[in-house]
């Protein structure tokens, strides 16, 4: 298994390098630069600023420099926020995004597998149709519709939760987090419940479940000890794609609920040509997705006795 992990990491390094390279040169190909303001500064000043950040040198030199700094863990200074480094900006935004993403995936796994299992146990009955109808709605309602609607209903009409996003003064309290987390989790709850239903239906038909019933075990014992264990396996392999979906989703959620997270910083930075911040966020998310995929694969292999670490 250690060998397998080592090989995956060896593959991951060139992948990340490709990502860095593509993102680096794509950003630089963009028309305009970080210091092309609406009220232009004097050309002399502009040149000085460019020189200060090393942006006046040939592109390939900048690229090599960037990689050299990166290896030492230095993501460079932000070009837009004076006195802030990219690491500062990421460490401000990342806890918010990570909290919301982490809570969402936990909620989605719990509710999704619960609903999916219920639907499978009531296959082709009212409960099944209710859950699957809900799942279809969860998949088709985009989060940027669901978010505002939930905010409108629970925040404005019912007054149950405060509207207006996360205020740094109040911090991340439960009532401020609940709507973003639920909105982000809903599509994943839907997808996970469909996966869970399909796999549970198959497990319930299998011979060893029939054997378990035949030897007189009570239904809860069969379901919890035998069926559920086997049925959650496909969910584990979905964790990788789910983490990527959450990353994408969090960009919208942060926009909708005005959360000071990393996805919002990314969009703003891309529009303002804050090269270093864009690069920092891309690198962070790419490594995160690759790591989560690896963890999901390892977990799957550990839980599933049929999978062996070959090749």
């Amino acid at each position: 298994m250690l060998g397998y992990i080592a090989r995956r990491i060896v593959v991951a390094i060139p992948t990340i390098l490709v990502i860095i390279t593509v993102a680096f040169f794509m950003m630089r190909a963009a028309p305009g630069g970080p210091f092309d303001l609406e009220r232009p500064m004097p050309e002399e000043v502009r040149q000085n600023v460019l020189a200060h950040f090393g942006l006046d040198r040939p592109l390939h030199e900048q690229y090599v420099d960037y990689l050299a700094n990166l290896v030492q863990g230095d993501l460079g200074p932000s070009l837009k926020f004076r006195d802030k480094t990219v690491s500062d900006i990421i460490s401000e935004g990342f806890p918010v995004s990570a909290t919301i993403g982490g809570l969402s995936i936990l909620l989605a796994l719990f509710l999704g597998s619960l609903l999916g299992a219920i639907a499978a146990l009531r296959q082709n009955k009212a409960g099944d149709f209710a859950v699957m109808g809900f799942a279809m709605a969860g998949i088709t309602i985009p989060p940027f519709v669901m978010g505002p609607v939930l905010a409108l209903v629970f925040g404005l009409y019912l007054g149950l939760v405060p509207t207006g996003g996360l205020d740094p003064r109040y911090g991340m309290t439960a009532e401020r987090l609940i709507l973003p987390v639920v909105t982000l989790a809903l599509p994943q709850i839907a997808i996970i419940s469909r996966l869970m239903r399909a796999s549970m239906v198959e497990v319930l038909r299998s011979n060893y479940i029939r054997t378990a019933y035949a030897k007189g075990l009570a239904a809860p014992v069969v379901i919890f000890r035998h069926a559920l264990r086997a049925a959650v396996l496909p969910l584990v392999s979905y964790l990788g794609p789910a983490s990527a979906a959450l990353v994408t989703g969090s960009i919208v959620i942060e926009q909708v609920f005005q959360l000071p997270g990393i996805g919002r910083q990314f969009v703003t930075a891309a529009l303002q040509r804050d090269y270093t911040v864009v690069m920092g966020v891309v690198i962070l998310y790419a490594s995160l997705i690759i790591t989560l995929n690896l963890i999901a694969d390892l977990l799957y292999a550990t839980l599933n006795p049929k999978v062996k670490f070959e090749k």
Binding site: T15, V18, I19, V22, A23, M26, M27, A29, A30, P31, M136, A137, I139, T140, I141, P142, F144, V145, G147, P148, V149, L152, L156, A244, V247, T248, I251, V252, Q255, V256, F266, V267, A270, L271, V278, V281, V282, Y285, A286, I289, I290, N293
Partner: protein, 301 residues
């Protein structure tokens, strides 16, 4: 020479005989038309497409006309503002029509891009096999692990926001799964007995591809295409929502929803109308996709 022509005659005879029987597609069509949700959805989509093409020409309000005195009118039959007006006093019904048309157009174009790349890539990898196959699929694996939405966002920022780029970018993201499906199917088909039998019977290579390979690859591809369309519509509106997609004076459902989300406290219909339109469209495509999958690949039922 004589041999070849005999083979050709044989082939033609076989083909005309085969057409008489109940083909894979007849069965599939039968199953599809028994699925009420899928049939209804097809009707709704056909109706929506018709509306989107015809109604903008006959509707009394243009999506660009600004009625200065009629800002945020709630839905009313007066002056035929049946869905109300938006923050600039533009008719929301006309805007929703035009927005839906744009979303459907982007969906069709982006899906075609992903279809072409995916089928070409997957079929080549599957047909050639060996090292080429391994290299090509490893490339797909690497692409899978990229946070694609970031690249799309950077792309939109880099090259400005034009429509062609939007669907190229989205199509370039969505072809990976298509390539995997087509490759798997091609490899499986290459080893099938009926393909060998056709070869042994002297059917020409082109005829084998046309009669046996294409129809069998087509099934999963059609299903996946139908399921890609809603994904593409969502992706486009996601970009538009962030202000990176379609630009004024053009509009799309995503843009309308983004505007509606800002005004929802004073004018909830500006969110509800495009939101419901999008949901209806996505619902229908998903039902059609599920129905097609059940019809073409009945073993999953």
């Amino acid at each position: 020479m004589i041999n070849t022509s005999a083979t050709n005659e044989n082939t033609e005879a076989m083909e005309s005989a085969a057409v008489q029987g109940r083909s894979l597609w007849d069965d599939a069509r039968g199953r599809l038309f028994r699925n009420r949700a899928a049939v209804t959805s097809m009707g709704v989509i056909a109706f929506l497409i018709l509306c989107v093409i015809v109604l903008p020409w006959v509707w009394p309000h243009s999506h660009e006309t600004i009625y200065r005195d009629l800002v945020w009118i709630s839905p009313t039959f007066e002056n035929l503002h049946i869905f109300g007006t938006d923050a600039q006093g533009r008719d929301l019904f006309a805007r929703t029509l035009v927005g839906l048309r744009m979303s459907l157009f982007v969906a069709a174009a982006a899906t075609s891009v992903s279809l072409v790349i995916g089928v070409a890539w997957g079929a080549t990898a599957g047909f050639i096999g060996g090292r080429v196959d391994q290299a090509m699929m490893r490339f797909v694996d690497i692409m899978y692990s990229l946070p694609f939405i970031f690249f799309v966002i950077i792309l939109m920022v880099v090259f400005g926001r034009n429509i062609i780029l939007i669907f190229l970018a989205i199509g370039a993201v969505e072809w990976l799964t298509m390539a995997r499906i087509v490759r798997g199917q091609t490899i499986a088909l290459k080893g099938m007995e009926f393909v060998e039998a056709a070869e042994a019977a002297g059917v020409s290579r082109f005829a084998i591809i046309r009669r046996h390979i294409v129809p069998n690859v087509l099934g999963p591809v059609v299903v996946y295409v139908t399921l890609t369309i809603p994904v593409v519509i969502l992706a486009e509106s996601f970009l538009s929502f962030l202000g990176l997609g379609v630009q004024e004076p053009d509009t799309s459902l995503g843009r309308l929803i983004a505007a509606g989300a800002q005004d929802m406290e004073v004018a909830p219909w500006t969110l509800i109308v495009p939101g419901l339109t999008m949901m209806l469209t996505l619902f229908c495509f998903n039902f059609i996709g599920d129905g097609l999958r059940d019809a073409i690949d009945p073993k999953d039922r």
